[in-house]
Symmetry: none
Subunit: 209 residues, 4 copies
Amino acid sequence: MSAQLPARRRADRREVILGAAFDVFARRGFTQASVQEIADAAGVAKPTLYNHFADKDELFRCAMTYTADAVTAANVAVTDRLRATGANLEAALVDVARRLLRVCCDDRSRALRRLAQGQLTRFPDVLELVQERTSSRLAEALADRIARLSLSGGLRRCDPAVAAEQFLALLTAPMDSRSGLGTRRVPVTDVNAVADAAVDTFLRAYGVT
Amino acid sequence: MSAQLPARRRADRREVILGAAFDVFARRGFTQASVQEIADAAGVAKPTLYNHFADKDELFRCAMTYTADAVTAANVAVTDRLRATGANLEAALVDVARRLLRVCCDDRSRALRRLAQGQLTRFPDVLELVQERTSSRLAEALADRIARLSLSGGLRRCDPAVAAEQFLALLTAPMDSRSGLGTRRVPVTDVNAVADAAVDTFLRAYGVT
Amino acid sequence: MSAQLPARRRADRREVILGAAFDVFARRGFTQASVQEIADAAGVAKPTLYNHFADKDELFRCAMTYTADAVTAANVAVTDRLRATGANLEAALVDVARRLLRVCCDDRSRALRRLAQGQLTRFPDVLELVQERTSSRLAEALADRIARLSLSGGLRRCDPAVAAEQFLALLTAPMDSRSGLGTRRVPVTDVNAVADAAVDTFLRAYGVT
Amino acid sequence: MSAQLPARRRADRREVILGAAFDVFARRGFTQASVQEIADAAGVAKPTLYNHFADKDELFRCAMTYTADAVTAANVAVTDRLRATGANLEAALVDVARRLLRVCCDDRSRALRRLAQGQLTRFPDVLELVQERTSSRLAEALADRIARLSLSGGLRRCDPAVAAEQFLALLTAPMDSRSGLGTRRVPVTDVNAVADAAVDTFLRAYGVT
DNA sequence: GATGAATGAGCCTTCATTCAT
DNA sequence: TATGAATGAAGGCTCATTCAT
């Protein structure tokens, strides 16, 4: 037990560093972020940081993966709500839509995508990884739900992958443009309006009768 | 006339530098891009470059604006094709959709958005500017066309702004996810499939039976 | 005559540049002074300036020499007033002392000495030249006057060189310390007090009985 | 004790840098002196230097202050010799005069004044500081001694500040002119001659009987 | 294991100087 | 002759990274 405490400590320290690193990267961008600033934000000395991570690149990769996992978990939690639709399909879709908007457009998610995209040339693998864990996984989970709904008669016959793709498109793209890619705060009523409009269009296109 | 030659030369030189600057920024990102590399790419000496632009910052701003203007022009040219729809609305929409995809997803447009987003913290104004000249202007032009079509009975009654927003959403978001934000080449047949699916869904939702 | 005008012009231009150069050097120091700033101050373009002077070094040398000559002229004019002492030696000395203080401590003289001293390592010859034309020449002229006064019984027997040296010392050194080497403005009453004290001490030491 | 070693080391390092910096500044002037050259002279790497001093400016300020303190100490040590005059006032004054000349005119003192004066426009505070710690403090200390001597009957009634000012003037100004502001070596016999002449004149003006 | 101090490399920027007009 | 534009060289400063404690 006394042997596990240091291990715990070490793991904690690592996570603290990762969190601080992501924050600083998000605020400054990869190159602008100085290792010193990250160390300060994490409350450790620079060499300590280098003791946990080989170099700035590895630190970036780990921080991105670490945050991507957190975002993924939130996404999955939302889509799972579609497993039991209940009687009212539209209400269920609106509920999911609103929740997804909240998750996809919060600062952490945005910063994650922004960073991954901005470092595309230096870290092509990170962009892939982030996309895989966020967008792709979400689209697949959603496609699964839509396939079930299509089979059970809640939605018309369709390609579930395309339908899921479009459902997400109707949610995220308008939010991006309204929020200026996250620079402007969007009032909750507008967020809900986007969700409602998306569900409306989706059901007109994919609903039965 | 012999007096205009230097002016021409100077303007040309400036544009050459701007083009080279954007290329290098796109390849390396803002911070990674060294002014020396830009000068080399433009075929001039570093001080020459500083003779045209005060700062690396100003150079960035100008290069972004310069490229944004080019992209804007291409966008406007495409939407203008909706002015004369002709008899077949669906065919016209498909034509525009395919063209928009080609314009929005080419390397220059992508790099523009990526850079603007990546330098959000350092150049907040540039992101706004780019958004304004590309997405916003495009959405407005499209909303204008849709309003006309709605009035003339080609489309059902609707909020043109929302309809335009969604039409663009159905185009760009799926393309982003299929191309991995531009990292994977998407075969033309897939591009067309995205366009067709977008138009199909759009017409199901906004067409008049 | 029409052939002389351009020559005149050219000479004028040269003097304008020299004046501007000295001003800028005085304000910024040799290295800090940019050739561009000098050209601007003179109202000419940089290459024009290089047409008159081979390089920045030559420009400095010429500007210093030019100003040194002006200062020398003023110095000599003052000492000449001792040629005809008149009856009252003390009054004559006080008059000369006050005038010398005004000449030695005006901004141009000060800047000249400051610049020459500051560039001692890069332009050793300029310091020598300036010293020769200002301090040394003044001391010699004064020694001549004192020799005559000594012979004519106005002053006691003494080494005129030493006496002149000390007379000047009693004037300049206190002024330097009171004015903080030219940084603080010294009220006229204080300037006169320094002159009077110098003459008083000088006459106590070198006067007859 | 083992914990103090690093502190010692660090302080030592700092002083080594300050010494090297002053040497290089004295040799080249402020602007001409490259930070690299200073670092080389101090035997450290450039960033080490920037670790101790924020700027080249701060480095300059500190180096000047550091040297000014050393010079001040030497000055004070000399004037203290006037506290116990002994029977022979003239001998004491000659002794002090000769010592002061040695201190005021050694290379370090000269370079200090030259640098402070040369950078007057960029570092006005440094000139003030140097003047305060060297000339002013020396003049005041000397005035104190003279006041005592005046009271005890060794010197006639007089304004001690003016007397001190003049005593120093009679020493430094002639030395400056003879040494060409430090460019020419002055033989010891001449140095002593200046001191003797100064004391002679001073006593003729301020002595009793 | 954690830290203060040190370093080698690199980048932005400026300047004196020279062509081409 | 006078100028706008261009350049080679160099300098201040920062940063990721590594020893010695």
